[in-house]
């Protein structure tokens, strides 16, 4: 499956790019994180502390255990600080 993966705030800085298109067999967000973390040290550093990582699937907030079936866009970011 091909996914557009987006990064924001310090996750974007640690990974060094705002978005990438990847091919993966990951079934859940957590599987995807394991896949990405195994690719290089930058991804591994960005995902070192999952308590500080939030995600959205097709622009809707989602749990890290959410399935990826049918999803096209995954975004990773730290806890939000709006307002």
């Amino acid at each position: 499956m091909t996914l557009d993966v987006l990064y924001f705030a310090w996750l974007r800085e640690r990974i060094g790019q705002p978005r990438e298109r990847i091919d993966t067999d990951a079934a859940t967000v957590r599987d995807l994180i394991a896949d990405l973390s195994a690719r290089d040290d930058w991804h591994a550093a960005a995902f070192a502390d999952l308590a500080a990582v939030r995600c959205a699937l097709d622009q809707q907030l989602a749990d890290l255990d959410a399935p990826l079936a049918g999803v096209r866009e995954v975004a990773f970011f730290p806890p939000m600080t709006g307002g």
Binding site: A75, F77, M80, T81, G82, G83
Partner: protein, 162 residues
């Protein structure tokens, strides 16, 4: 009933012109860049284009249904903002004041920790630091989920006229 994300400043008076026509109560909240340390030059706000607009619109629609709002507006800025500049505003209109106050409070709690914005403080010495989310902001949401009337004991049904 609208939500906008923009880099440009907004004019509160212009935003309120024609807003909530016929309502008995209009509440507005404006968030302003503050400098807690005396060493800040600016705030940079990053957001997730597409999701941000959708999230703000969803939260506004939810607030309208929950508090019987007759109108609502959310304007949130992104990009670089100097200390003292307005970051965002929420306006709510309802028949009575309690619903308008509650809805504005509710929207702010949601925007603080469920809208995809990230703040970074830029120091006068040029250093940059991402602002950590406050655990209290996350906790604030729970009161709306646990009970709609814990903080405000007056129910909407028995609300006195504003």
């Amino acid at each position: 009933m609208s939500a906008r994300v923009q880099t440009a400043p907004f004019d509160l008076a212009a935003e309120l012109a024609g807003f909530g026509a016929g309502a008995g109560a209009i509440v507005t909240f404006t968030g302003v860049v503050r400098d807690d340390t005396g060493a800040m030059a600016a705030l940079e706000i990053e957001h997730y284009p597409g999701m941000t607009e959708r999230a703000l619109s969803d939260y506004g629609t939810e607030a309208a249904a929950r508090f019987a709002l007759t109108d609502w507006r959310i304007v949130h800025r992104h990009g670089r903002l100097a200390v003292g500049e307005a970051i965002m505003m929420v306006a709510t209109a309802a028949r009575h004041r309690h619903a308008a106050f509650q809805a504005a409070d509710y929207l702010m709690d949601w925007l603080k920790s469920r809208a995809p914005f990230w703040k970074r403080e830029i120091g006068q010495d040029g250093t940059a630091r991402w602002v950590d989310a406050k655990s209290g902001d996350e906790h604030a949401l729970s009161r709306w989920q646990a009970s709609s009337s814990r903080k405000y004991p007056c129910s909407l049904a028995t609300d006195d006229p504003a």
